[in-house]
Symmetry: none
Subunit: 154 residues, 2 copies
DNA sequence: AGTAAAAACGAATAATTATTCATCCTTCAC
DNA sequence: GTGAAGGATGAATAATTATTCGTTTTTACT
């Protein structure tokens, strides 16, 4: 692994652990981890990693890495809640009128264990082959939902 | 509405329409829209709006919409094309299954001159009172569509 | 190993952005 | 109206970040 790559990994690690407000601070943080680099290099790394200074601190761009799948994207933005009823049925909630579009995208994903979906106006029923499949699908959907809201996993 | 608020709205509008790379450019953009403000004020507005310089251009943080209207947001992401048939009918195209949701949001906007809408699966008919109303609505919708794609106005 | 090309680097500096400070409005109480 | 308090503002400037330029290091190939 090139030294550039190592440094960039450490940068990502660093900004997720500490609050780093300036590139000068970043230089110091890296130095304390045994990596020497100039502010100029940090600036280039930041551009390469496409980091962003949001709210006074350097961070990884929030929405970008969420998903690159257009179907998932369509679901993510409009999934309000994911619940279940028994071992074989998930119940999804969307804004009014959106259930149809979300269900269609969901069908398009062809997730394992999903037997079928029915959409109302703001509600979708998802039938699953097993409780275990239900859990997997729920987790997947929840992660999509979270990603679109920039929530962190508790 | 305070002049601060107006300016900030215009800023959001501007960054969703054009590529703005520096606060100096922003000052120029606002001036061309009849708003005078110094770079200092822009800097303060950017902090207040929590904008972010990503990839060399100022943008609303991913996940937070460029438009602050949730209805508009729902339309923006899923409007593929806007056409017309005669003086009183607009024809909108959406991804499959999305027409209903978009039409509902469109109704919610209560745009002047819109008489009614009908949604199919991926198509919406919008009846307008006049050709002039049609133009206005088309322009509005086109600007929404563009904003969600970060296109620039040619 | 030897070498040409490409990539990475830091120092210096240019460019950009945030803050300070003095001033100007606006609002509100009297 | 007058005055005090709190925002909003711009000019100047401090602080931060991006780029240039000359050099060194790595890579790829023979």
């Amino acid at each position: 692994m090139s030294s550039v790559d190592t440094r960039r990994r450490v940068i990502l690690e660093a900004i997720s652990r500490q609050r780093i407000e300036t590139q000068k601070q970043m230089v110091a943080a890296l130095r304390s981890l045994g990596i020497d680099a100039s502010q100029a290099s940090i600036s280039r790394d930041i551009a390469a990693l496409r980091l962003v200074k949001a709210d006074g601190r350097w961070t990884a761009p929030a929405g970008l890495p969420a998903t690159s799948n257009p179907l998932e994207e369509r679901i993510a933005g409009r999934l309000l809640a994911v619940g279940s009823a028994g071992d074989h049925l998930l119940v999804l909630t969307t804004p009014p009128g959106e259930a149809g579009g979300v269900a269609l995208a969901l069908d398009g994903l062809e997730l394992d264990g999903v037997v079928g979906t029915v959409a109302g106006d703001d509600t979708i029923f998802v039938a699953t082959v097993s409780a275990e499949a239900g859990s997997r699908v729920t987790e997947k959907l929840e992660s999509l939902r979270r990603s679109s809201r920039n929530e962190s996993v508790p």
